[in-house]
């Protein structure tokens, strides 16, 4: 199977770019020349040979049955998972009841006052407006359910992440063990995390919270470890010379020195938790995500939007407030007294709200946007959807995209013999990375074949490739424009900011309205989701090109096009590679979620597994998604990796 790259390969010495590349390709070609004929005579055909697959659905189905039958009697469940599940339920319920008891007036006031103390007046106003908007849309109770789940999940993630980060920051051995695991977890699509927890905990809030914790803890762990390791050596030595114990050093010097990273970690954790808490509605998280999920199932765009807007508002507010808290860190002038006043004021508002009967948002104050939005969508489908002369309608574009791009790409990939796919993966990964990344990529791809989901995985891959191509074309073009004109960059920045904080789920709503159901809308959502990161990294990369190089190019009389092509782009190559890597990872995450709107392939199998309680199908698809994510990341992995965006 994966023997193709098991060929001996030395890590290429750093040097001129072309020579090692040629050598790598030659090695690979020799290995292929030996192994491919062997493989072909043994197992011919284009799709993965069925002899080499392992059918795991039987054992998995049995495991799932065993769990359902023993969930109420086996000690493992009674004394461990049962308690975990209990604690989660109790904690979420406590937070939820507290939020309901404080009432909308109280929650809004408390939110605004916290924002005011940590981030200033403007954000306080923004917070209040956001909460009021949630109520105005009639989404108060779902918002509180999501918030309650978030509070518990974020606290747990921060604790777990900080503990892991502490371990990795203090012990080199732990760091070596944890780093590759955390790196990998960050590139996996959120959807792949859902199934294992469902298998153990069943559909419901405990499973949702745990999936969220698993997804949101890694950035906290990474950043904690980074902060602890990045502490200034001299300061540490100075502290050590004072005769402090290791524990004192940690508490008085290393942790305080790392607090910028710690706060950034909290910020990222919150954003990822929100993103996941919404996706976890597929496994019974309830709240806002549930409203979006159900509305998507009935293609009710208006209702989906009414639940989607509060999610976006929540995301933007949480991101800004925690971000501002990190920036204002270390500024003086925060006396505990003002905190006390703020608290008292919030309590007063809450009590006043309680007595004034403002616990539940009055029905009469609701703004029903679902109907007007649906009327607008109906009008669009009637007028823009299809049959417009010359340009065609949105549905026509979707159909053309499916017929002319997605279908040929998918058929082409599925037509390729399996060993040539492995070979291509190996070549790409090795050219960009090291033989280690190449080996991981090929093994991951082979694992997909072994799991017996070769065809659907290539279908998903074709969607990813199409979406990445579109993303890169638009992203690089926009990035170049933004790098060359300050005005464009300034206009783009707020747009990118908002788009980068939105949870993945929200992107599905508008594309269903525009493109109907199928693979094309899934691809469109993925493109929109991945664009901001690609544009931003491209712009930064181009702007960081050494001004001296640009100056000398200009003095040699190069036109601005020549400067761009021959100086800026080559020098910004690492940034561009990083943009490709990020684009691929982000696109995959959304293409998979596209299973909810007819994207088919692996995403659909996960949805199917959850909907039918057929966890064997879902888990196999989930494992294939993990492998695909791993492969795509390794194939595009630049040697120098930066922390990714927390969405």
């Amino acid at each position: 199977m994966a023997t193709i790259t098991a060929a001996p390969a030395e890590p290429a010495p750093p040097g001129v770019l072309t020579r090692p590349a040629v050598r790598k390709l030659l090695t690979l070609a020799v290995a292929a020349a030996v192994l491919v004929p062997l493989a072909v005579t043994q197992w011919g055909g284009t799709t993965w040979p069925s002899v080499l697959t392992v059918d795991v659905s039987g054992p998995l189905g049995k495991a799932s049955d065993w769990i359902i039958d023993n969930r109420d009697s086996h000690p493992l469940f009674l004394y461990f998972f049962g308690h975990v599940s209990n604690v989660v339920v109790i904690a979420v319920r406590a937070v939820y009841l507290a939020l309901l008891a404080v009432g909308w007036a109280g929650v809004t006031a408390i939110g605004a006052l916290i924002a005011w103390r940590v981030a200033g007046v403007r954000l306080a106003l923004g917070t209040a407006v956001a909460f009021l908007a949630c109520s105005l849309l009639g989404m108060w109770v779902p918002t509180m359910q999501t918030l309650a789940l978030m509070v518990v999940a974020v606290l747990a993630s921060v604790v777990v992440g900080a503990l892991l980060g502490l371990a990795a920051g203090l012990s080199d051995r732990m760091d070596r063990v944890l780093r590759p695991v955390l790196d990998t977890m960050q590139v996996l699509p959120a959807f792949a995390y859902l199934l294992p927890v469902v298998l153990v905990f069943g559909i419901g809030v405990p499973a949702a919270v745990l999936a969220t914790v698993v997804y949101a803890a890694p950035p906290m762990a990474r950043l904690t470890s980074l902060g602890l390791r990045g502490a200034d050596r001299e300061v540490l030595e100075a502290v050590e010379s004072l005769g402090t114990t290791a524990r004192q050093r940690l508490l008085t010097a290393r942790v305080p020195l790392a607090r910028k990273e710690l706060l950034l970690g909290v910020n990222q954790t919150i954003m990822m938790a929100l993103s996941m808490a919404v996706i976890a509605s597929v496994i019974g998280a309830g709240g806002l995500g549930d409203r979006v999920y159900q509305a998507l199932a009935s293609v009710d765009v208006g209702a989906a939007l009414a639940a989607g807007i509060p999610i976006v508002l929540l995301a933007v507010v949480l991101d800004r407030v925690t971000g501002a808290a990190g920036e204002r860190l270390g500024e003086s002038g925060k006396s505990p007294l003002t905190w006390l006043y703020a608290l008292a004021a919030a309590a007063a508002v809450a009590v006043a709200g309680r007595f004034a009967g403002l616990l539940e948002w009055p029905d009469g104050w609701q703004l029903n946007i679902a109907q007007p939005v649906n009327r607008a969508v109906d009008w669009m489908t009637a007028h823009l959807y299809s049959g417009i002369p010359v340009v065609g309608g949105t549905a026509d574009w979707a159909a053309h995209f499916t017929n002319w791009v997605l279908n040929p790409l998918r058929d082409g990939l599925q037509w390729l013999p399996w060993w040539s796919v492995l070979l291509a993966v190996a070549a790409l990964a090795w050219l960009i990375g090291t033989w280690r990344t190449a080996l991981t990529a090929v093994l991951a791809m082979a694992a997909i074949g072994v799991l017996g989901v070769w065809k659907p995985s290539l279908d998903t891959l074709s969607q990813v490739l199409a979406a990445v191509a579109v993303t890169l074309v638009i992203g690089f073009a926009t990035g170049v424009a933004a790098a060359r004109s300050d005005r464009v960059e300034r206009a783009l920045r707020p747009v990118l900011d908002v788009f980068q904080t939105m949870p993945q789920f929200v992107y599905l709503i508008p594309v269903v309205a525009l493109f109907g159901v199928g693979r094309a809308p899934a691809v469109a959502a993925a493109v929109v989701y991945a664009l901001p990161a690609v544009v931003r990294i491209t712009t930064q990369g181009l702007r960081q090109v050494d001004p001296a190089a640009m100056e000398s190019a200009r003095s040699l009389g190069a036109t601005s096009g020549q400067q761009l092509r021959q100086v800026q782009l080559p020098l910004a190559r690492p940034a561009l590679l990083l943009a490709v890597n990020q684009g691929v990872v982000l696109v995959l995450a959304v293409v998979i979620i596209g299973g909810l709107v007819g994207g088919g392939a692996l995403g659909y199998q996960v949805v199917f597994g959850l909907a039918q309680g057929d966890l064997a199908t879902g888990l196999v698809a989930g494992a294939a998604i993990v492998c695909l994510g791993l492969m795509l990341d390794r194939v595009t992995q630049p040697t120098d990796r930066r922390p990714r965006k927390g969405a």
Binding site: H83, Y96, L100, L163, I203, P206, V517, G595, L610, Q612
Partner: protein, 318 residues
Amino acid sequence: MRLRTTPALAGVAALTLLTGCGAADMTKQASPFANAQGAKTVTLSVQSWVGAQANVAVARYLLEHELGYRVDTVQVDEVPAWDALSQGRVDAILEDWGHPEQERRYVQDKKTIAAGGDLGVTGHIGWFVPTYFAKQHPDVTDWKHLDKYADLLRTAESGDKGQLMDGSPSYVTNDKALVENLDLDYKVVFAGSEAAQITQIEQFAKEKKPFLTYWYTPQWLFEKVPMTEVKLPPYKEGCDADPAKVDCAYPVTPLQKYLNADFAKNGGDAAEFLKNFKWTTEDQNQVSLMIAEQKMRPEEAAKKWVDSHGSVWEKWLP
């Protein structure tokens, strides 16, 4: 090292304190969001098709206005709903289309779910073609001639085979096995949801294009797009026992209600009411049409039906 063990120990201690030291049965945990403000609450599972929404809307209206309950509804897919019902996260399913495997597991073996009697509506799943197509080609209504028309029923998603359109992945379906076992030149394409399937059917009907679809009665869409059933090999008792070997039509199913066993015993008036709940296909269709066709909100539709059918529902009250 000491530093890390202390919080860990504290955490374990807190966990033990919080939960008591005994066993914790996670199959008996309600949703943290249920019974929020001290009201008598009933949680009903509502499935995504309109008929099920009609049942729940009327049951909810009567429970709230006649019996003084507070009703929560949860949208869960059919199979997970059984699991949720057995765990008590949901109190009742009002319309089940037949899940023999789950019935054996939960009703007979574990006794965590109790049967709630007939809903009164009879359901039937089948393959349908639009009536305008059946009139042009009368022999299409027999499965033996379906292969002749595979060319006409091709789409971008089905490739070189004919398309058999299925809706939501969560519905009861044997279609993949049927296509395989009857050796038909068709490919099952899932629209992803019933709503998507309806949209697609309506678009086909607008252009008078032929199509073959998984569909079921009673369903309000028949009023808008008349469809004719394709005859499959007749259903015999037990021919669908092994899901992989099904080669016969779907049965005619008297739709069933199921209640959580505890709720059935201790649920008081609400449980009694839900057991008595029984109406006809026409009643259900009336409410469904109001919801789906006239775009009324479910509670309005329920109110309208309740106001004019006192004699039907008064018998349900305990």
